[in-house]
């Protein structure tokens, strides 16, 4: 059996940890990094955070909330056998546009490596894995139907098969993000958890606020 031990969410106006029932407003993404450091959601500075593309920032914010919700502490130096799988609607389309537009506007003289890096949809997960010390499998996935339920189901199967004991499943877009911590029941400590099956059903909604409402009802 697989348990969901942490769920972090983030929008332009608020953020929350669903299992520990945290629900806060914030003043915008521009100030959120300092606020997260101050509140210890980030236990140490995120290296090069200001250079991250938007999806990478959203991935890191939501992963910090989900890990906090699951009471999993982390350190950059001590890696943990945790995987990270991501699925979002547009992949890295925005970053692809930013990189190539910048290259064309420069007269095709020199592309910028720092923009090029984010033209891989798996890089937001890689940025999160470096900061949180996640050394398990890392994948970006596009599903042609039911994106978040499919992601959760896919991650759950990887745990069931014994490939990895814990996985962060992230769906990060430009304006909102949702991250789940999936673990084997053996790995779950005394804290509250939800069954993966019930979370998959609750996440099978068409928009973000409906998903949050359904998940809040579960927790």
């Amino acid at each position: 059996m697989i348990a969901v031990t942490g769920i972090g969410w983030l929008t332009r106006k608020g953020y929350g940890c669903l299992i520990s029932k945290v629900n806060e407003t914030h003043e915008g993404f521009e100030t959120l990094y300092s606020y997260f450091k101050h509140k210890s959601y980030f236990s140490c500075p995120v290296k090069n955070f200001s250079r991250f593309d938007t999806i990478s920032k959203m991935t890191c914010f939501s992963a910090a909330l989900a890990l906090k919700d699951a009471s999993i502490s982390y350190s950059v130096k001590h890696k943990q056998d945790i995987g990270i799988f991501g699925a979002n609607e547009a992949g890295c389309l925005e970053s692809n546009m930013n990189y190539f537009q910048d290259y064309i506007e420069s007269g095709r003289i020199l592309a910028r490596g720092n923009l090029f890096i984010y033209t891989l949809p798996s890089i937001p997960m890689a940025e999160a894995s470096i900061h949180f010390g996640l050394s398990g499998p890392l994948l970006h996935l596009f599903f042609n139907e039911k994106r978040i339920p499919s992601l959760l189901s896919f991650a759950g199967k990887s745990i069931t098969e014994g490939e990895i004991p814990s996985i962060l499943a992230v769906s990060a877009e430009e304006n909102n993000a949702l991250c789940f911590v999936l673990q084997t029941e053996d790995a779950v400590s005394a804290g509250k958890s939800l069954s993966l099956e019930s979370v998959i059903v609750a996440a099978d909604k068409s928009n973000f606020s409906e998903i949050i409402t359904a998940l809040t009802g579960l927790a």
Partner: protein, 381 residues
């Protein structure tokens, strides 16, 4: 619940050596490189003029380069693909020309470059009515896709999966790698003392995987088994590999555990071998962590095919099956002065071996690593 073996029942590919697996195999054995001058966009401000491009492939407004490669391959195999087959596409940039044209001509077609659009075209070509997904994990994309397919077969979730992999040489990618100063001006020289960087390449291919049970039932040829796999992440640096190779060595150990074999059973190793200073050094450290002081033949195809990015893993798995069936380790093309770390392991000549087991590894940006254990099929119908 008993688990099932995942076997390959069909594969094919187009590489810079030409159409078909045989042309790639023979090209590698000949020791000549398919890296050539790029003629599809201006390279005067790039780090190199060279890449391994597929002969006669031309940019067109009608069809993307990857679709020009995939269409003939998939049309040929489509009648043999069961309609309940699940499709997994592995790519890094897919149909990136749509985005390039969108930016250059201010058109609104960038969205067509998304890989889910390409997945739908592939499903249509393959004649599958089931759902599918895209796996993207930098240069590990297609080996990760094959590992997911094998995993889904082993746990009885699916019994027929088509893995399709593709990437093309574009201005988008070449300018990006140039900006990172990651390219060799001339040609990639994996595991050579004088290696200076990678050469980009392009390829497309497919592998139809089935449970052994279904393959036997349908009287399919079994071309090889995906016996074990391991995926890890360095969690270390966004473009550079972990210097000690621990992420990759853990992936290899996980793959051997998954296959239920020991390192003594592995006959040869297909390394990622990009030709960059750091990748090749990291790989030798990782291999030595697992194999100690008992050299196993190691080779890289990238001096010949270039680095075919999202397609690299699948291309190398197909070549891995060829090594098993022909009992021959291909030479590492462009190797002339072997790096000290690789001495006794990597060779510029072909070698023979007897073991029915081989290992294929890949690593990529973001610190991703994959290792797959490939076995010769016991039953060939």
């Amino acid at each position: 619940m008993t688990s099932l073996k995942a076997v390959s029942v069909a594969f094919d590919m187009v590489t810079p050596y030409g159409w078909g697996t045989d042309s790639c195999w023979e090209g590698l054995l000949s020791g000549t490189s398919a890296i050539r001058r790029i003629d599809r966009f201006s390279t005067c401000l790039m780090q190199t003029d060279n890449a391994a491009t597929v002969p006669y492939l031309k940019p067109s407004s009608d069809e993307s380069l990857v679709m020009q490669m995939l269409t003939p391959l998939l049309k040929k195999i489509a009648p043999e693909i069961p309609s309940d087959t699940f499709v997994i596409l592995a790519t890094t940039t897919g149909e990136i020309e749509f985005l390039q044209r969108s930016v250059i001509n201010m058109e609104h077609e960038a969205i067509k470059s998304r890989p889910d659009h390409l997945l739908n075209k592939i499903m249509l070509l393959a004649g599958t009515c089931d759902s599918g997904m895209v796996v993207s994990a930098a240069c590990v994309s297609s080996s990760a896709a094959v590992s997911r397919a094998a995993s889904m077969i082993r746990n009885k979730e699916r019994d027929s999966i088509l893995v399709v992999a593709c990437d093309s040489v574009s201005e988008f990618v070449t300018a990006g790698f140039s900006s990172l100063m990651a390219l060799d001006r001339h040609m990639a020289k994996p595991f050579d003392k004088n290696r200076r960087g990678l050469s980009l390449g392009e390829a497309a291919g497919f592998m139809l995987l089935m449970s052994e049970e279904r393959a036997v039932r349908e009287k399919r040829d079994m071309l090889g088994e995906i016996a074990g796999w391991g995926l890890t992440n360095d969690a270390n640096h966004i473009t550079g590999p972990s210097k000690d190779g621990s992420g990759l060595s853990n992936a290899v150990l996980n793959a051997m555990k998954s296959a239920g074999i020991s390192e003594n059973e592995i006959g040869c190793i297909s390394a990622h071998g990009t030709g960059t200073l750091y990748n090749d050094s990291m790989e030798m450290k990782a291999i030595k962590k697992v194999f100690g002081n008992n050299p196993v033949p190691v080779y890289s195809v990238k001096g010949g095919t270039g680095h075919t990015m999202g397609a690299a893993g699948l291309l190398e798995i197909i070549i891995g099956f060829e090594t098993l069936n022909k009992k021959t380790v291909p030479p590492t093309v462009n190797l002339s002065d072997t790096d000290r770390e690789a001495e006794g392991w990597v060779s510029s000549g072909q070698q023979s071996f007897e073991s029915p087991v081989t290992l294929s590894t890949n690593s990529g940006f973001g610190g991703v690593n994959s290792a797959l254990v490939l076995k010769k099929s016991e039953k060939i119908l």
